[in-house]
């Protein structure tokens, strides 16, 4: 008996993880400014994904609402979980912490600086994603910095 897959077509999440690893490695070994390109990719993806995610809701009342939306809904859609911590100094700086970040969760490495540098490469794309989402939702001049 043939079992048919009913409903939406799905792809394993790990496909994206592997693709991300491969793209990071490729760009870092063949392009002069890999961080910028990864960040730009993330930016475009973030913008477009956000158009889709805000389909059913109206305007955001303020910055905090945008950031909260980012932490909860967008992060859940993209990474399957919400952001673990959100801190702010109320002067426009927000710190978002994800304690079990998918992109770096399964990298095996020591705790020394060199490995951390390497791990940091995988943060360009998500940083761009956040920046793109913010830009689409009304904060186009945000700066996003990612730290391991």
């Amino acid at each position: 008996q043939v079992m048919k897959m009913a409903g939406k077509r799905e792809v394993a999440e790990s496909c994206f993880d592997y693709l991300h690893f491969a793209v990071v490695d490729l760009l870092h070994s063949s392009r002069p400014t890999p961080e910028k390109e990864l960040e730009r990719m993330g930016f475009e993806v973030g913008q477009k994904l956000c158009e889709r995610y805000v389909r059913d809701r109206g305007f955001f009342a303020d910055e905090l609402e945008i950031i909260t939306f980012l932490c909860k809904d967008v992060w859940t859609e993209v990474y399957g979980k919400q952001m673990d911590k959100l801190r702010t100094n109320h002067k426009g700086v927000f710190e978002l912490q994800d304690l079990r970040f998918r992109a770096t969760l399964r990298l095996s490495a020591g705790n020394d600086k060199a490995s951390q540098e390497l791990a940091r490469r995988y943060l360009s794309f998500p940083a761009g994603l956040i920046r793109g989402a913010l830009a689409a939702l009304g904060l186009p001049s945000a700066h996003v910095r990612a730290d391991g």
Binding site: Q47, L49, V54, R55, G58, L137, G138
Partner: protein
């Protein structure tokens, strides 16, 4: 006439059902009305939480309805008093079409929409809700 206006008040899409030549003058006038109505839209969005803003401005016998997405893209419709329900349904359907076309990675969010498929679908939606 139906217009999609982007974040920087740049026009992304325009559709006018009429084809007559004398209406070209009217077309420019319509664009002017819609542009002026953008200010009214900016006021209204802070007053309500929904995306559909109903009628934001009136001009002679024409009325302008608006719909704003959370990403600040505005859909404006210039018409002569169509029913609220059909206008709202039209906006919702065009919003769906907009999202679908914007998820194309080769598509720029700030550039005018030139896809003929999008155009055809918007026309079909207009016929469906307004005829």
């Amino acid at each position: 006439s139906f217009y999609i206006v982007g974040k920087k008040d740049n026009p992304l899409y325009e559709y006018t059902p009429s084809q007559k030549k004398e209406d070209l003058n009217l077309l420019q006038q319509n664009q002017f009305f819609v542009h002026a109505a953008l200010d009214m839209v900016d006021e209204e969005i802070w007053k309500t939480n929904s995306m559909y803003l109903k009628t934001v401005d009136k001009f002679n016998d024409k009325v302008i309805s608006a719909y704003v997405t959370a990403s600040h893209i505005r859909f404006m419709l210039l018409h002569e008093g169509k029913s609220e329900e059909s206008v709202k349904s039209f906006f919702l359907e065009v919003h769906e079409l907009y999202i679908k076309i914007m998820t194309n990675p080769l598509c720029d969010l700030d550039a005018p929409i030139v896809s003929p498929a999008f155009d055809t679908k918007v026309r079909a939606a207009a016929r469906k809700y307004f005829q």
